[in-house]
């Protein structure tokens, strides 16, 4: 398929703007651009066809089952989109006076209130634009907390070895380093190892619960207490909140701050890699350090008005301009309002039901890492199959592509060799799960019979396996 640049024809164009209705001012010669601007020259018909063809070569939740572990690819409600497209929201300038943006401020205020309720936190910020951004903000809050107490020796963040790769990178961005503690044989945090790892240099501990193996850390109260006793704070990575939202609150588990992935748990679309939103919530002890501005409610002449407050002298400042990805926050709010107090836990329960049902079906052939029930996701390992038959997690994933199913997450968590992490989410029907299981099992049996055959897959997708070594050795990053 051609690039836009290859379809370009000199002199072709759309007619978007009228002529200038005021005298033209030119840039003075010394400041003017010298190299001509070369962008594709196309008609609108060209553009329309180009992007339609690109759409056919992509795969969204609308195209089929998307069981990506830790990504929560649930259905993205269309009413969220129509609300976020209302001109009454899209036409609002972030710096227009607070009195003229009461709708936007109300949305932020309500989202704050509802998400604090769901997470058991006291205050929220919607400024971070993604999970990693939220994590950075959370660690900054913890850093500031210790700084304000004059305790500058706390430079270690403890994480379990099953954690996401962002954790060490985030710690490094905050001048801290990471202490990895190995998980116990059940995949959960080893309390003895945790006790040995804490000390005067412990700034905090980062955990997701359920953990990345899809198991609920039943010792969570002990874990968070150990950290608090050592003078550290507990940070909750909200990537796996979908299993417990409306049922268990991170605040009750002993966490002092959380980040949420609104584009996972709260149904906002992934957009091919963004925009998302990494809202961060915290308990009162960290509230003074949240980024500015924060939305407040005041009474004026018998009426309630929302306004933005900037006067927080201990705030960490800003992690992004304005108030974050507002339309994404709005979509999440719309979702929470739709589901409400019964719909939120119902969604969580059904995500766990679907995961356990699918896990049971797949366990006919596949080795599941944990015993007993899982939460909203589970991990398979192809370690034995790789040794005995010569096919890997990657091979299973590529074979699924030919069946229109997006593969599960591959090779994560790092502590499980040849891992496939499966998360169906609550929005899939029983028959989708039955059909998917059939395909997973069929692929497995075919691979056992003919391991060579699976290496050449996929065959029916727009391209075959790409040469990633060539892409990295000889980078071609633009046309």
């Amino acid at each position: 398929m051609e690039l836009l640049f290859e379809k370009s024809k000199e002199g072709r164009s759309c007619t978007i703007l009228p002529a200038c209705d005021v005298p033209v001012t030119a840039v003075e010669a010394g400041a003017a651009r010298q190299t001509p601007l070369t962008l594709p020259e196309l008609s609108e018909n060209d553009l329309s066809r180009h992007y339609s063809e690109l759409e056919r070569r992509a795969h969204g939740v609308n195209n089929g089952f998307y069981p990506l572990g830790s990504c929560t690819m649930k259905y993205n409600p269309r009413v969220n989109e129509s609300v976020a497209a209302l001109p009454g929201f899209t036409n609002i300038h972030p710096l227009q006076p607070d009195e003229s943006a009461q709708g936007c401020l109300e949305a932020l205020y309500l989202a704050d209130k509802y998400l604090c309720g769901i997470t058991g936190m006291d205050d929220m910020t919607f400024q971070p634009a993604a999970g990693a951004h939220g994590e950075l903000t959370g660690v900054m809050l913890i850093k500031k907390y210790h700084e304000k107490r004059g305790d500058t020796g706390r430079i270690k963040i403890i994480v379990p070895d099953s954690a996401h790769g962002t954790n060490p990178a985030t710690a490094a961005m905050c001048g801290m380093s990471v202490v990895n503690i190995p998980s116990g044989p059940d995949g959960c945090v080893d309390l003895e190892k945790l006790r040995a790892a804490v000390g005067d240099d412990t700034a905090g501990f980062m955990l997701t619960n359920p953990n990345t193996l899809g198991i609920f850390e039943k010792n969570i109260l002990d874990i968070t207490r150990i950290i608090h006793d050592a003078g550290g704070l507990n940070y909750y990575d909200g990537a796996n909140l979908n299993a417990i939202m409306g049922i268990v609150r991170p605040g009750d588990m002993g966490f002092d701050c959380v980040h949420l992935n609104l584009h996972k748990t709260f149904s906002t679309p992934h957009g091919g890699g963004g925009p998302g939103s990494g809202a961060v919530g915290c308990k009162k002890l960290l509230s003074p350090y949240l980024p500015v501005p924060r939305v407040r409610l005041k009474e004026e002449a018998g009426k309630y008005k929302y306004y933005q407050e900037y006067d927080f002298p201990d705030s960490i400042g800003k992690v992004k301009a304005f108030s974050g990805n507002f339309l994404v926050t709005l979509k999440a709010l719309t979702y929470i309002i739709t589901l409400g107090r019964e719909g939120i836990p119902e969604a969580a329960q059904n995500s766990v039901l679907n995961a356990n049902y699918l896990m049971k079906l797949l366990s006919k052939r596949y080795k599941v890492v944990n015993d007993g029930f899982c939460m909203h996701e589970f991990v398979l390992t192809l370690q034995n199959e790789a040794k005995e038959y010569g096919f890997t997690a990657m091979d299973i994933a590529k074979a699924l592509l030919d069946h229109g199913i997006h593969p599960p997450t591959m090779y994560f968590p790092l502590i499980v060799p040849e891992a496939l992490m499966v998360e169906p989410t609550e929005t899939e029907s029983k028959e989708t799960l039955d059909k998917a299981a059939e395909i997973f099992l069929e692929i497995y049996d075919q691979a056992i019979e003919n391991p060579e055959g699976i290496h050449g897959l996929p065959k029916t997708t727009p391209i075959g396996r790409p040469d990633e070594v060539r892409a990295a050795r000889s980078p071609v990053l633009r046309a």
């Binding site: 200038c20 840039v27 962008l39 409400g340």
Partner: protein, 447 residues
């Protein structure tokens, strides 16, 4: 209550039976009883779609949509071609995940590759990443790219957007790096002062072009000063202005960053926006975030893939220069469609109109005794001083309350930061002047 579950009650019953349990609660048997919350989480009852639509429309109705916008300051009101909205609301682009499985993600990967290519051409740089969260955080990330063991001091122009400065300060505080602000003079960065501040510990110098006050800076000279001391030069640019102003490439910048919102994203009360980052080839491996590269597949067909992943956090972990995982993919696609729809002539035309209309407004404001505060050349934003007996904030308030006009942003010293884009017609500008003139005549807008 509202829900998006597909399985029926009886199907859920079947699944519970298959698992050998009676109720959903049993699935949570590994959770300590005391953690299961009894209360309703302070959420209201769920709603049907019709009720949600009504409620949210009501909420949107509490915002004022101004009929004419003369305010920029980091968020700009531009015309968005209709094709842009059509493309980015395609369901597959909207709901797809990050394109890690290249075989079924060529559509998204190619769209991002095209975006990267366009950003390179717009900025005159060699390589672009797939985007980051916004202009402010992009600038903070660019600063981090330049710091190393030997050079950790960072110099930012005080004429940059205050929120960009604030964000850089926050990121640098977290990393333990010093930030110094180069002073401004007559609305532009004081290059003589910059020269005296810079030393061999300076990692980078950042200038915004045009700057917060709308002034066109002498970036070539700023870059020379930076390089003479071995520091890197970061230019934060406006992507519309880039069509007619000297590019970062032409100014020998090491890194170009900026806020991509003007490229087809609505104002949206501040987000989602788009941070673009482009660099010269020697800094390629320091760029954070995702990058799409071209390669071939097993049959030799051209293919696109996320590449140079060893830069990124999931591989390099604590040695990564950033923890960023995601890009603003759909916003990057928005920018690409916008630039393709406008084409090179449309982009130039938009820039010329922005600049021309701003100059027209400035000359008319001068007629009513609101002259330019600064003397330098400006693009589409400029600052006017108010007469002493006029309160800038009140003046702007009247415009909004009584006339549906969002006037310029009141800033310090009783000044106003105005902005014009191709959206402001001559009639609109003339009407603004008439309203202002009336207000000024009535004892300086106090009333």
């Amino acid at each position: 209550m509202g829900h998006y579950l597909s399985s029926t009650q009886s199907q859920r019953r079947e699944m519970l039976d298959a698992l050998g349990i009676d109720s959903m609660e049993e699935l949570y048997s590994s959770v300590p009883r005391e953690l299961i919350t009894k209360n309703g989480f302070e959420l209201p009852e769920g709603k049907s779609e019709l009720e949600v639509d009504r409620l949210m429309r009501n909420m949107a109705g509490k915002n004022t949509q101004f009929s004419a916008v003369f305010r920029g300051a980091g968020a700009y009101s531009h015309y968005i071609p209709a094709i842009v909205g059509t493309v980015v609301s395609k369901e597959t682009f909207l709901t797809a995940y990050t394109p890690y499985q290249a075989e079924i993600s060529q559509g998204v990967l190619q769209a991002i590759f095209e975006y990267q290519s366009m950003i390179c051409r717009l900025t005159g740089m060699d390589v672009s990443n797939a985007s980051v969260y916004d202009g402010a955080s992009a600038t903070a990330e660019a600063v981090a790219m330049c710091r190393d063991k030997r050079r950790s001091k960072v110099i930012i122009s005080s004429a940059a957007h205050p929120e960009v400065i604030e964000t850089i300060k926050t990121y640098c505080w977290a990393a333990g790096a010093a930030v110094e602000l180069a002073p401004s003079n007559n609305g532009a960065t004081d290059l003589a002062a910059l020269e005296s501040m810079i030393d061999d510990k300076t990692a980078c110098v950042h200038i915004q072009q045009p700057n917060y006050f709308g002034i066109i800076e002498d970036c070539e000279r700023a870059g020379q000063i930076a390089h003479a001391s071995g520091a890197k030069f970061i230019m934060g640019i406006n992507p519309i202005a880039a069509a007619i102003l000297k590019t970062p490439g032409e100014c020998a910048a090491d890194i170009a960053v900026g806020e991509g919102q003007p490229l087809g994203m609505p104002l949206s009360y501040g987000g989602p926006y788009l941070g673009f980052m482009a660099a010269n080839s020697s800094m390629m491996r320091k760029l954070p975030g995702r990058i799409v590269g071209e390669t071939v597949d097993t049959d030799g067909n051209r293919a696109y893939v996320l590449t140079l992943q060893a830069r990124e956090q999931h591989i390099r972990r604590e040695k990564a220069s950033s923890n960023i995982c995601s890009n603003q993919a759909l916003c990057a696609m928005t920018a690409a469609v916008y630039m393709a729809a406008m084409g090179p002539e449309g982009m130039k035309n938009a820039a010329i109109q922005c600049m021309s209309k701003a100059h027209y407004l400035a000359s008319r404001l001068e007629e009513i005794k609101m002259p330019l505060k600064y003397g330098g050349q400006f693009f589409h934003e400029f600052v006017t001083a108010c007469p002493d007996d006029v309160d800038a904030k009140r003046l702007i308030e009247c415009l909004g309350a009584d006339h549906g006009i969002l006037g310029g942003l009141p800033i310090e010293d009783n000044c106003i930061l105005w902005c014009c884009t191709e959206m402001n017609t001559k009639e609109e500008i003339d009407r603004l002047i008439n309203v202002l003139a009336e207000n000024l005549a009535e004892k300086g807008g106090r009333g």
